[in-house]
């Protein structure tokens, strides 16, 4: 089993340590990730698309056209998945869109038929859940995980066509397969607020604040994410929220791949945890997780 790896912009150029765990877990599962030269920004569905929709279609289609792998593309980012799946959706839905997009691509000698499959890495993990379970060497006992699905992992369901748009279960099942407990909390399905940050930082903060509040109240001891935008929203704002509201939130913010990597037996030192702002060491000690 192999996929073409679409890295996007945020993870490789800003949060490379998240890339480490993501690559390692698929290696362990025996799933090959091919690096492809020449990808551009997906482009950002919360940025570039809002400037110009046609550019979004063109650059997205160009990226998709670079994949020759039968398995299609795998991505570590919900935003990239939404863009690539979205471009596929519009091209395959309306033949005039396909024609127009290929008119743009023709200028750079490329063509796109609309046939490249796209999968979120969590989807690949879920589809190989038995293999994931087999590879768990250190079950994450005592980890009380607050899962944040995020919005672009699920919706719009016509484009993403993966999990239930309002009552999803795939990430819960993966977390449970790792031996951890998934904690229910009030605002579990609410948006983290990251896309609003460019327009209104205060509003964006209000949204992430209420998530932290509910997660804390529910008794979770860590958060897990599958999108680098959400990751930034949680990781980079925790301290500011404390300053603003006099709280003492100090939850380790994990990327799903990091949790999987820990469960697979990889050492925290090789996974770049020193780059996290909220260090997980206290958590490991508290639950007796041997590192």
């Amino acid at each position: 089993m192999s996929y073409d790896l679409f890295l996007g912009c945020v993870i490789p150029a800003r949060l490379p340590y998240l890339e480490v765990s993501s690559r390692k877990i698929f290696e362990k599962l025996g799933i090959q990730l091919h690096d492809v030269d020449g990808f551009s920004c997906c482009p950002d569905p919360t940025g570039i698309e809002l400037i110009d929709h046609n550019t979004w279609l063109a650059l997205g289609a160009r990226n998709l056209s670079l994949s020759n792998n039968n398995g299609g593309i795998i991505s570590f980012c919900s935003g990239c998945v939404e863009t690539l799946k979205g471009v596929n959706y519009y091209i395959n839905k309306d033949v005039t869109v396909k024609k127009e997009v290929n008119r743009y691509l023709q200028k750079v000698g490329k063509i796109y038929e609309g046939k490249t499959q796209v999968k979120h890495f969590a989807q690949v993990l879920y589809e190989n859940l038995e293999k994931v379970k087999e590879n768990v060497e250190k079950p994450l006992e005592g980890f009380k995980v607050a899962i944040h699905y995020g919005c672009h992992y699920l919706r719009p369901s016509e484009i993403i066509a993966w999990d239930d748009p309002f009552e999803p279960t795939t990430l819960d099942e993966i977390v449970q397969a790792l031996g951890a407990e998934s904690v229910e909390y009030d605002s579990k399905m609410e948006c983290c607020g990251n896309p609003v940050e460019k327009s209104d930082k205060d509003l964006s903060m209000l949204m992430i604040e209420s998530k932290f509040k509910d997660i804390y109240q529910a008794g979770a001891n860590c958060v897990v994410l599958v999108c680098p935008a959400c990751y930034q929203q949680y990781e980079f704002n925790q301290k500011d929220i404390n300053k603003k509201n006099n709280t003492e939130f100090n939850l380790p913010i994990f990327y799903l791949s990091e949790l999987v990597a820990l469960a697979f037996g990889f050492k925290p030192a090789e996974l770049g945890f020193n780059f996290h702002r909220a260090k997980p060491d206290a958590l490991f000690e508290k639950v007796g997780f041997k590192i």
């Binding site: 551009s40 570039i48 400037i51 110009d52 919706r155 719009p156 748009p165 609003v196 209104d200 509003l203």
Partner: protein
């Protein structure tokens, strides 16, 4: 006083026909997290209403409500009983805001980065060193001139330049 602009209204419908299905039930604003937090100052139903009525001035010039506050969570799209594709329609409205030069500055930075580098976040020296230390392979991104050629055809540059005040 708001004037109905039929041309604008028809343009939006041409881009996304689902706009005309809306029967203003306000399911979208009832489920919208930003509408609740801003007590209706941001209001997806109102944006769609103004688009249906062709109130271009209100939507694009005054940006009342401000479409840039949409968090793209897509709950409205998923809940809408008439399958109105709100986020798609908001995308068109935002594209038009860009044409008129009325948008939050932060978007400009990303647009320019893609225009100049083909990617939204250029690789700094520090990151390249860090990647090496973490044992990660070098990333070969798209040839910039190829991206710029596409951006010329789609008129992306014009949008950016127009908005570049």
């Amino acid at each position: 006083m708001s004037v109905i602009n039929f041309g604008f209204r028809n343009e939006v419908i041409k881009h996304n026909a689902s706009l005309s299905y809306c029967y203003q039930c306000s399911t979208c604003s009832g489920g919208c997290p930003v509408a609740l937090l801003t007590n209706g100052v941001y209001n997806p139903r109102k944006i769609i209403e103004e688009a249906i009525l062709g109130l271009q001035e209100k939507l694009i010039e005054s940006q009342d409500p401000n479409p840039w506050l949409c968090s793209t969570c897509q709950k409205c799209v998923e809940l809408c009983p008439q399958k109105v594709e709100l986020t798609e329609i908001f995308t068109l409205i935002k594209n038009k805001c860009f044409e008129k030069g009325k948008f939050p500055e932060a978007f400009l930075a990303q647009g320019q980065a893609v225009l100049e580098n083909g990617i939204a976040i250029p690789y700094s020296k520090a990151i390249l060193t860090r990647r090496e230390k973490l044992g990660l392979p070098e990333v070969k991104t798209a040839p910039v001139d190829e991206i710029q050629q596409i951006l010329k055809v789609t008129n992306f540059e014009k949008n950016i330049l127009k908005g570049d005040k």
